[in-house]
């Protein structure tokens, strides 16, 4: 009898402790949810909260007419500048160095909750992705509309090139026709995608999308601008699509080695000595656009994307969907990235034949000896911006 009572007591306490833990988690979870209004709720609640905040504290955010320097200085002093890190931070480091501010930043999550709940005042956004989430009020958006402003890295002169196509030097040397065919078909896909972004967004959505269809369509339109405008704001002519512009690439390299120091001294030495010819080659692009290539040496190829399936990579999906790869004898598999998947490592180890990354990441990988080669530059300008809220 006594034993049974003991068992019952133990059971009761266990149940109670579980209840306490669960209820504890429950209450804290709700408090955090109110702190960081998430998802579709935000669109409506953001308006009311910002309205009350503007009356109580007018100086919490940034002045509507504040200069870039003022915004950066205030955010830096409060230590509330955000970036994702992992190779996406170089432009931000360059911008902060340019204004003589300390180059530290907070780790920004892959949603914009940190920006929404004010733990980050100056957040990194891609024009085609997070900026849309912040401004628009479709499902998943935060609906800030005109209540936010952005800093453009291109205008600040510290813009660096972004999404490209690369492979290893060994692969390019051994399979020149495969590389040319891949570029040729991909460019055809990108041209189609930019001609009709709506249709391209639908194609991407069909192949597995990480975001909603409305956001996908927004993204396609923004990506089009990055592909068809160069780093100085001039239009890129149709026959120069994907061409590696030496001036823009030199700017990317110069900014990178001026503002970023690699801890590995031998890699840092290699970085300082590096020239454009060490990591980019336009001859494959030239061969691809002139149609001057034979049958591919390797027909089954894989491209490793930098991120999840989304309109950021619409050109490849359109080329795949319309059979442009097949027309040139290529059987292409698109491997999505995401999180901590290193696209440079995937290509280096041979898990993928091609990859898309940012030249800065490729340069840093090459400096430590990966031997990668950029063969085309899809995005001709930087899509990175810094977003901040303005006082109402």
């Amino acid at each position: 009898m006594r034993k049974r009572f003991k068992e019952f007591g133990a059971l009761l306490t266990a149940v109670m402790m579980v209840c306490f833990t669960v209820s504890g988690c429950g209450s804290t979870a709700t408090s955090s949810a109110t702190g960081s209004t998430s998802g579709s709720e935000t669109a409506s609640s953001a308006k009311s909260s910002s309205a009350t905040e503007s009356t109580s504290s007018s100086g919490k955010y940034f002045d509507k007419d504040a200069t870039v320097k003022e915004v950066l200085t205030k955010a830096s002093e409060e230590g509330k500048i955000g970036n994702w890190g992992g190779g996406n931070e170089y432009e931000l480091l360059a911008l902060l160095s340019k204004y003589g501010l300390k180059t530290s930043f907070l780790s920004q999550g892959y949603d914009m909750d940190g920006f929404d709940d004010d733990s980050i005042l100056l957040a990194s956004v891609m024009t085609y992705n997070e900026k849309g989430l912040v401004k628009n009020s479709y499902p998943g958006g935060y609906g800030y509309g005109d209540k936010v402003k952005t800093i453009d890295f291109n205008q600040e002169g510290v813009g660096m090139l972004e999404d490209n196509i690369f492979c290893t030097k060994d692969f390019a040397k051994a399979n020149p026709n495969t590389v040319k065919a891949f570029i040729s078909a991909s460019l055809k896909g990108w041209k189609d995608a930019c001609a009709d972004p709506e249709a391209a967004a639908e194609t991407v959505y069909k192949y597995g999308s990480s975001v909603s269809s409305q956001h996908q369509s927004y993204m396609a339109k923004e990506v089009k601008k990055l592909v068809e405008t160069d780093i100085n704001g001039n239009a890129v002519s149709d026959d120069k699509l994907g061409y590696i512009n030496d001036d823009a690439m030199q700017q990317t390299l110069d900014i990178f080695r001026k503002y970023v120091k690699l801890d590995d001294s031998s890699a840092n030495d290699a970085l300082q000595k590096m020239a454009l010819d060490d990591f980019r080659d336009n001859s494959y692009w030239e061969g691809a656009t002139s149609g001057d290539f034979g049958t591919p040496e390797k027909s089954d190829v894989t491209i490793q994307l930098k991120w999840l399936p989304q309109a950021q990579f619409m050109g490849y999906y359109v080329a795949l969907d319309k059979g442009y790869y097949k027309d040139l004898g290529l059987n292409v598999t698109i491997t999505p990235g995401g999180g901590d998947i290193g696209e440079t490592t995937a290509v280096y180890t041979g898990q993928a034949d091609f990859g898309t990354t940012w030249p800065a990441t490729l340069i840093s990988a090459d400096a430590s000896g990966m031997g990668l080669l950029e063969v085309a530059q899809i995005y001709q300008r930087s899509g990175l911006q810094m977003v901040y809220k303005i006082n109402q």
Binding site: F5, K6, G9, A10, L11, L12, T13, A14, M16, M17, V18, T21, T28, S31, S32, G35, S36, G79, K80, G85, G86, G87, S104, F105, L106, S107, G114, D117, S119, L262, D263, D264, S265, S266, A267, D340, G342, T344, T345, Y348, T349, T361, S364, A365, S368, G369, M370
Partner: protein, 267 residues
């Protein structure tokens, strides 16, 4: 006789691990290891290069080591104290204690990768200073890990007593507090060290892992992640080595403390 025993201990405790480590190092440096694993000097850099990078970046590394140590050691101390307290409570209330500790054991099974982001969100309201609240979030994760392990082991130490010893003390008219002080507390000391042997290396590991998810960019674990993502493998390995050294030094300190405190006891 006594010296002979010490020598034997030294051989098994120190010499064998050192020889094993030296063999691994030699295999790496001579690139035999690279052939066995089918890798190259880029992915697995030579030990000489790793040491070179460490020696060149000592100030930067120390900043990160300090950040990781504050989190790991802080979590270890708080977690161990709380865990022991929990064990005492469970001993004082035996009716529910054992069952309650099963829940603590369940906490031990939650992966760090799961609780780290949760604690990040929960601590957002604590302070407007990101470095501070990020440190608190990381320390909490280590605390939970250490607390669970300590409470289970300490509970065993407080309750798995020599047969009839409680009856004996009761026959001397000893109260519960006296039994606790004279019998349970000394009996639990070796069990504390059993727990610490798990939690001391574990606190470094959990500290390093939860830095991956932390809001504020600092710490050895964060550097490992950043350098691997940006394909700086040699630097990443330098930080991995630093993390290993931290764990080993902490473990050696524990072994010395154990030797001193448990002198004359059979371990």
């Amino acid at each position: 006789m006594k010296t002979k025993k010490i020598n034997k201990n030294m051989v098994t405790n120190i010499l064998y691990p050192v020889i094993f480590g030296a063999i691994i190092l030699i295999l790496c440096q001579t690139q035999i290891m690279h052939k066995i694993l089918g890798t190259d000097v880029f992915t697995l850099p030579l030990p000489s290069r790793i040491i070179e990078i460490i020696s060149e970046n000592i100030p930067k590394i120390m900043v990160n080591v300090k950040a990781t140590l504050i989190v790991s050691v802080g979590g270890l101390i708080i977690g161990s104290l709380l865990g022991y307290l929990l064990a005492i409570i469970a001993t004082v209330f035996p009716k529910g204690g054992a069952g309650g500790l099963s829940v603590a054991a369940a906490f031990n099974a939650i992966p760090i990768v799961v609780i780290a982001p949760i604690f990040n969100n929960l601590t957002k309201g604590i302070s407007s200073d990101a470095s501070f609240r990020s440190m608190i979030a990381k320390t909490l994760v280590v605390t939970v890990f250490c607390m669970a392990s300590m409470s289970i082991n300490a509970y065993r130490g407080l309750n798995e007593l020599p047969p009839f010893s409680v009856d004996l003390l009761k026959s001397y008219a000893a109260g519960n507090f006296t039994i606790f002080k004279k019998l349970r507390l000394p009996n639990s000391i070796p069990y504390i060290f059993i727990a610490l042997r798990v939690t001391v290396p574990g606190c470094i590991i959990s500290g390093v892992v939860c830095e991956y998810f932390a809001e504020y960019v600092i710490g050895v674990g964060r550097q490992i992640r950043e350098n691997i993502v940006t394909a700086q493998y040699a630097t990443a390995w330098a930080y991995i080595t630093v993390a290993c050294i931290m764990g080993i030094i902490m473990y050696i300190i524990l072994l010395i403390a154990e030797n001193v405190l448990l002198k004359g006891r059979k371990s």
